[in-house]
């Protein structure tokens, strides 16, 4: 580099620094811990892409302040997530942490963030441990409490007048929680509760037993690839038209549907968000997301986008001065932003009070997708809010 070029570069750098300094605030740093490798990568990729999209649509700023999003991959491992959190807090000095997909990771990491006085905004995981007694003034969940979608499925199955239902979930804590959530609102008889191995690939034995039991319906919670396997095999056994299939939206997100294809058509699932929801904010989001990434946004994407909008609103409300911690938390709690879900508000435990819908898997042209068919819950609150003392 010649001396003149060096001088010019230095002068330009100086000008940029001076320009930023006049904006009264330093940039906002948001640390995103999410899953970008391994079997659960699709969920984290959706969250990252949607969060980044929200920042991009606002010209690289949230709440009018230049925003830097630092993304790190936890590979769905607790140890990695903890290490990343420590790095974000001690070295990168982030203002807000977000992005964890899995509840077991969230339980391990969130308290260490909130204890340091930093804000954590959840884009997906909503374990009951953090919703009830373990709630925290620095913890905000922009997605749902884990039980919510299972509860909605239970309510819907009851509403449909199904009397004998067969339940299936993996043999681990979130699997048992899903069955608990379902049964909280389902009033009929439970024919069997089947607990499968985590990561199981073949469900022929369970499907044969299920057929022999002749239930009115099947509720299952098998996240990720397990759900793809089960739904394909269920359809191949010729059962999907015979015994209706119900599940939470996780087993039927847009990524999973593209892998399951026609096999899933006719299944019902519950979700607080679907790309077809009719509101202005969602239309903008879906169009921008499809343009940027060439696919339909899943509920994971929507939740991350909403989390970014929530932060955007709160930063704007304190005029970019996040050092006023109480005012910033109050603004986050107020959550007066245009959610892609149509409306959004927080309960006393900073978990959403929101509408939950049932959707049917339908074929649209060549693509298999979700279609919202009915609202099951209006302003539904989680079962743990009363235990939260802040």
């Amino acid at each position: 580099m010649t001396r003149i070029q060096t001088f010019l570069a230095m002068a330009m750098a100086g000008a940029i620094v001076a320009g930023a300094a006049t904006a009264a605030d330093k940039p906002v740093k948001i640390g995103m811990i999410t899953t970008l490798s391994g079997g659960g990568a699709a969920l984290g990729v959706d969250a990252r892409d949607a969060f980044q999209l929200a920042i991009d649509l606002k010209g690289g700023k949230l709440g009018g302040v230049p925003t830097e999003l630092i993304v790190a991959d936890d590979a769905q491992k607790v140890e990695n997530a903890k290490q990343i959190a420590t790095r974000f807090l001690k070295k990168d000095d982030v203002d807000i942490v977000t992005g964890i997909v899995w509840s077991n990771l969230a339980i391990a990491v969130v308290p260490s963030v909130t204890r340091e006085g930093k804000i954590y905004v959840s884009t997906n995981a909503g374990p009951h441990e953090l919703a009830g007694k373990g709630c925290d003034k620095n913890y905000f969940n922009a997605a749902y409490q884990n039980d919510n979608l299972h509860e909605a499925a239970g309510q819907y199955v009851s509403d449909q007048g199904l009397k004998r239902v067969y339940l299936m979930a993996p043999n681990y804590p979130a699997g048992k929680d899903s069955i608990t959530g379902f049964k909280r609102f389902y009033k009929g008889e439970v024919v069997a509760e089947v607990y499968t191995t985590l990561g199981q690939v073949d469900y022929a034995a369970e499907i044969a037993n299920l057929r022999a039991a002749k239930p009115d319906g099947v509720f299952f919670f098998l996240p990720g690839g397990m759900g793809v396997n089960f739904v394909k095999q269920y359809a191949q056994a010729g059962l999907i038209k015979e015994i209706p299939l119900f599940g939470p939206g996780f087993s039927f997100d847009e990524g999973i549907l593209s892998a399951v294809g026609d096999a899933a058509v006719g299944a019902f699932n519950s979700s607080e968000y679907t790309w077809d929801l009719d509101n202005a904010a969602n239309k903008v989001f879906v169009a921008a997301f499809r343009k940027a990434y060439g696919r339909k946004p899943s509920l994971y994407a929507a939740q991350a986008y909403d989390a970014a909008l929530l932060i955007d609103f709160a930063i704007a409300a304190v005029k970019g001065d996040m050092s006023k911690a109480d005012a910033f938390r109050a603004a986050l709690h107020k959550a007066d932003f245009a959610s892609v879900r149509g409306k959004f508000k927080f309960g006393p435990n900073n978990h959403p009070i929101q509408d939950i819908y049932i959707r049917e898997v339908v074929k649209e042209g060549d693509a298999v997708t979700n279609k919202t068919i009915r609202k099951v819950f209006t302003d539904h609150q989680d079962a743990y809010a009363a235990e939260c003392k802040m």
Partner: protein, 307 residues
């Protein structure tokens, strides 16, 4: 429990066993003949599934997809053998585990870069997508029957290859008297590459066959690898016959365990507890089977050729 349900579960067990056999046959060949622990066997299974899904989508023909999967898995296998594994034959098993684990990580990332993190779609060919009432009153997926047929055909084909052909003779000889075969002028390096490629093609076939029933996704190989190791340990390491026997045994025990243990527990316990405890016990059923077989026959059900 009705007789129909029992028969249906038996078919399920056989089908699961056949699937495991396709994987275990390749793994046991490589282990028995080359004395190589290949953790990356599941990677070849994944490659087979991904290539089958992609080529089936492009060509519109499942048959073409399966053939492409065979070719791809064989080529990738041969490439891995020649570049990475050849240097490891004389080394410790631990070094082999480490190196082949590295191969897994490499291919998982590569597949994600090429195909993205979303699972791929592959459905059974139209002719096999329905059900067949092979047991009265029980519509059984035609595709699963097809898998049983393919698996048995592969078993017979392998038997013919090993017992009746010159390659098979060299494979058997190489397993027992490797140095002598080399001294007689047979190119051992090439033989090993061929054996590894055959193993890889079997894994690729298993992946392609599994695609229509399973999620074609990164990491699918590791899910099934542990079960495959259980199969070859039960069957006797290096024995293809053993792999078949072990695979069917594991398939049946696993299926019966999952299907009937919770039902049996219900006779003694309240339903919720029975379902939960039955599920936990059936999870370990195949490991109990493995322990029992090893106590009875420490080297597995069948001895490898002379080994």
């Amino acid at each position: 429990m009705t007789a129909q349900l029992f028969l249906e579960q038996t078919l399920n067990g056989l089908q699961q066993g056949v699937m495991l056999f396709l994987l275990a046959a390749g793994l046991t060949l490589v282990f028995g003949i080359m004395h190589l622990i290949n953790l990356a066997h599941g990677t070849l299974y994944m490659v087979g599934a991904y290539v089958a899904a992609t080529v089936t989508k492009l060509s519109g023909s499942f048959t073409v997809g399966v053939l492409a999967a065979l070719a791809a898995a064989g080529l990738v296998g041969a490439a891995i053998e020649m570049t990475a594994l050849r240097k490891l034959y004389r080394r410790d098993h631990l070094d082999q585990v480490l190196a082949t684990f590295g191969v897994i990580l490499f291919f998982n990332e590569l597949v994600k870069i090429v195909w993205g993190p979303q699972a791929l779609f592959l459905s059974p060919p139209a002719a096999l997508s329905g059900t067949v009432e092979i047991i009265p009153g029980v519509p059984y997926p035609a595709y699963r029957l097809f898998i049983i047929g393919v698996g048995l055909a592969v078993g017979l084909g392998l038997r013919y290859l090993i017992v009746n052909t010159r390659t098979g003779m060299l494979i058997r000889a190489g397993a027992t008297h490797r140095d002598m075969v080399g001294a007689l002028g047979v190119d051992i390096d090439r033989l090993f590459t061929v054996v590894f490629a055959i193993g890889a093609m079997l894994a690729g076939l298993a992946g392609a066959m599994a695609g229509p029933m399973l999620a074609v996704e990164v990491g699918m190989g590791e899910q099934i690898l542990i079960l495959t190791f259980v199969v070859i340990i039960i069957g006797g390491i290096g024995s293809v016959r053993g792999a078949l026997a072990g695979a069917l045994l594991v398939g049946l025990v696993d299926t019966y365990g999952r299907a009937f243990l919770p039902l049996a527990m219900r006779a003694a316990l309240d339903p919720a507890a029975a379902d939960s405890i039955g599920a936990s016990i059936s999870n370990v059923a195949i490991y109990l089977l493995m322990a029992a077989v090893l106590i009875w026959r420490p080297r597995g059900l069948f001895q490898a050729y002379g080994g």
